[in-house]
């Protein structure tokens, strides 16, 4: 999987917007954006991850709606990470585009997104109408389990990005 045209496009964007100057030519740019990226991770997992755990049976006395009201904080964390992630990607595309950990992470992000859409379409109304103590319907359990697995996978892949370049020992499609 190689695409020099895409690489040039991303680099040009990063250069023209001044992102690259901050990320590569200041000592504080890259570390600051990393701190924000980890902060966003915790905002996302703290709200959406724990909502998923609650639906799957943890802390049944917490009202589902009380946790569900916090989902916007998770969405804010996601937006922060989409922006900071794009800052990494466009500043140094060849470190990421051909990296199987990034490719796997992108696939899991897509899965998490589609899964969230399906959850709100097919399962959320029934789930959020439940009375206190009622068990979660199987459909809601399914989507929240997929969500939990996708996000833990995203975190793992994120941490693998800086390892194994090239990762011939585990990447079967490289």
């Amino acid at each position: 999987m190689g695409d020099p045209a895409l690489e040039d496009l991303l680099l040009a964007f990063s250069e023209r917007t001044g992102i690259q100057a901050i990320m590569l030519f200041t000592p504080w740019g890259w570390p600051t954006v990393e701190i924000l990226h980890f902060t966003g991770l915790c905002l996302l997992f703290g709200t959406i991850g724990f909502f998923d755990l609650r639906v799957l049976g943890w802390a049944k006395r917490i009202p589902l709606n009380a946790l569900h009201r916090l989902v916007p904080i998770g969405v804010a964390g996601f937006c922060l990470n989409a922006i900071t992630g794009a800052m990494f990607l466009t500043s140094d595309p060849d470190q990421y585009l051909y990296n199987p950990a990034v490719q796997t992470k992108a696939a899991l992000l897509l899965l998490a997104g589609v899964n969230m859409g399906l959850f709100y379409w097919l399962a959320s109304r029934e789930l959020l109408a439940l009375g206190p103590g009622e068990p979660s319907p199987p459909r809601a359990r399914f989507f929240t389990l997929v969500s939990l697995l996708a996000w833990t996978g995203v975190i793992a892949c994120g941490r693998l990005i800086t390892f194994y370049r090239p990762p011939y020992n585990w990447c079967f499609w490289c």
């Binding site: 000592p27 890259w30 570390p31 990393e34 701190i35 980890f38 902060t39 991770l41 915790c42 905002l43 997992f45 703290g46 709200t47 991850g49 724990f50 943890w58 802390a59 006395r61 917490i62 009202p63 009380a66 946790l67 009201r69 916090l70 904080i73 833990t152 975190i155 793992a156 994120g158 941490r159 693998l160 390892f163 194994y164 020992n169």
Partner: protein, 167 residues
Amino acid sequence: MGEFPIALFAWLENTPIALWVRETLWAFPLSIIVHAWAMALLVGISLLLALGALGVAPRLLLPLAEKSKPVIWTAFLLSLISGVLLLLAYPAKALTNEVFYLKLVLIGVALTLDLSVVNQCKNLSPQHEAVLPARLRLRGVGILLAWFGAIAAGRLLAYTYSVLTVT
């Protein structure tokens, strides 16, 4: 910067377990993944406790506090084990960096505040939740500052080290 016992660090980094973390294909990346998962759990539940203590999330705090301790301790144990393995792999790198000690202090403060909120909730009844005591709100702010400060310090470790005796 004071004098660091470099000889001790050199001994640590040559212990069998340190060699295992550095030289096994999966030990180091697995440790760093577990460290990130544990962070997500620990800072995640602390975020919820803080939002509850600040009154941002009504009806959340009391049932959350009841179930928090096992999550906090499990996540802490996971981050401790993975953290010690990461530290043993490159002891001089972290132990000669003041930022590392700042991170440890912030984690200590953050955990203390977490547990203090959990314990204070034992004396609260649901009626109290409408007007949370000021000391609880203060701890909510402290939890957020300490945990996100610890994250910042942890990330900065990759950029602020000055001594690397093994690669």
